[in-house]
Amino acid sequence: MYKYDAYDQTMVDERVAQYRDQTERFLAGDLPADEFMQLRLRNGLYVQRLAPMLRIAVPYGMLSSDQLRKVAHITRQYDKGYGHFTTRQNIQLNWPLLEEVPDILAELATVQMHAIQTSGNCIRNVTADQYAGAARDEVDDGRPWAELLRQWSTFHPEFNWLPRKFKIAVSGAPKDRAAVQVHDIGIRILERNGEVGFEVLAGGGLGRTPVIGSVIREFLPKQHLLTYVEAILRVYNRYGRRDNKYKARIKILVRAMTPKVFAEKVEQEWAGLKDGPGTLTEAEINRARAAFETPDYDRALRDDDPINGAEGDKAFLVWMRNNVAEHKVPGYAIANIALKATGVAPGDVTDEQMEVIADLADRFSFGELRVTHIQNVTLADVPRKDLFSLWQELVAAELAAPNLDLLTDLICCPGGDFCSLANAKSIPVAEAIQREFDDMDYLHDLGEFHINISGCMNACGHHHVGNVGILGVDKKGEEWYQISIGGSADANAAIGKILGPSFARADVPDVVRKIVDVFVGHRADGEEFIDTYNRIGIQPFKDAVYPE
């Protein structure tokens, strides 16, 4: 993975010093609260319902084992001994003290980590496919491009005070695991006549007005990535709405201008930047690529190598069938650790579990791991022959939930238990659904099924693109849940449709059960939920959930 040089390290160290000074000025009363708020947000610090929340950046989800150990140490030293993996592949701490955040940042800086631009109306953490570099279906590794974008966007002087937050995602494979169509900018890596380049989408997003992004450039040669993105940001910074925060995202601008006119405006702006000094050099592209060069794979391994010790262990086979994906290198596999055990908030990990995961990454996956946008962890380079040994360790650490991409692998924001924006709690809803669907064989039969839960319109739980989306709403001071179905975050992204009037929390598992029953009753051979839904439409589901 990418390692800092002296330039990168100096910038992060200087940011720690700057933030320490800002915190001290605030505590001394020299910096007004409204101003400090904007400054601390740009360093990932929210003030939440019960305590501040610190969001630590994990660029495109990549972590080394040493970085994860440092986070474990921080959660023990400064927090309550656990952390939360987010849908932006970051890590959140729920209980840090505002006064101690500069010390936390200083500790993070020692392992090349930070919290820069993890909040605020600026360019946020760039996300990527969690299988990047290992996926068998990949055109190109997305991480070097995401890293180049990370550096370009870090402390960009012109784009630190945008109309609203700005999210960029990169996908290098035809199967979209990075949800590029629902990002402010989505970058799809393509190959044309042997040349790598990008399809560029703009104006996608979730939140209060969910929109699928529009292609504004079909093929951008690779050296132009940064200048073209700069042109998009300049158009957005100048013309995006600032009068209403709910209409300030780029999706509203793209829609108001029309994607075609927006694209023309970007092209005009880009004409002044194209081939200028911001154009990527071959040397820089090679430097970024070299940083992600695959570790020393054992080239003697084969896909049909026996898995040591696994003979006939049914629980292992279930886990393997479900949580393990194909790797591009023979004899290797991609193993997913689903952080979705029933009774644990989705994405939560304890300090001890982090240390176990770090050790397992060292033993089985070259000391690296990835956080996924569905709040799981991926060990991307595991020798197939060692999968059983890995699984046994995961079982011992209660990290072997075999439900990747199944109904109980829910995406869930922290919700009203922690977040001051939330209208309703989301974690108890996730747990109630997990309890309702506790039969693993049945879940496997259902196949890929995504339930996404957000505690409010800000849609941190991506409810719009869940096959079933659950949104917490406030009805006269009470917590209710609006349910939508038919959303999808894959290559054919779709925004779900609202089923009807909302429900009390206690009724949500039963409603999900009814939706699943309709699916099972109508399912044709080989269909996933979304296929059946697309074939039969919303009406049969409405009829079952709201009988006359």
């Binding site: 040089d5 330039y7 100096t10 910038m11 200087e14 940011r15 010093a17 700057q18 800002q22 101003e35 904007q38 400054l39 109306n121 180049l148 550096q151 370009w152 870090t154 402390f155 960009h156 002087p157 012109e158 784009f159 630190n160 005070w161 945008l162 940064l226 300049r234 910074n237 100048r238 600032r242 002044g272 000094p277 911001g278 990527l280 050099t281 820089e284 430097r287």
Partner: protein, 159 residues
Amino acid sequence: MVTIIKNDAIDESPFEVVCGDAIDLAESNQILPMATYLESLEQLRGRNDIGVWVDADEEVEALAGLLDLQVIALNFPAFNDGRAYSSANLLRRKLGFEGEIRAIGDVRRDQLEQMVRCGFDAFEMADGQDLDAALASLKVFSDTYQIAIGTPQPLFRRR
């Protein structure tokens, strides 16, 4: 005279921002609203004591070809309104303006370094800002990834 920060020092400038309907164009050293300036081009021809200020929702491209100005001031209606950063960048890089670009409005110390990197070189600070402290905030970072005014090559071409 107005107190500003310029060239890393606290300075006094004769150029003052004016606004409203009762502007007397005969006065010297005024920083006029852009609309007033554009309406009065004939009348102001030949004058070398004029500045213009541009609000955040106005396009600096309107000044293309009219850049014999002493000062262009860019207004920050609020410190978290980032449009003027793009305006400054365009003035320097696209329009080639070499005179003073002054930040006016809600200008606070923690934003100064970003402003410098976008092309501002003068700062009329918001009320209540400590100018000495602001001077100390001009240089927090020793290098940057991006192209900036004074750093024509991005870091990746220099590292």
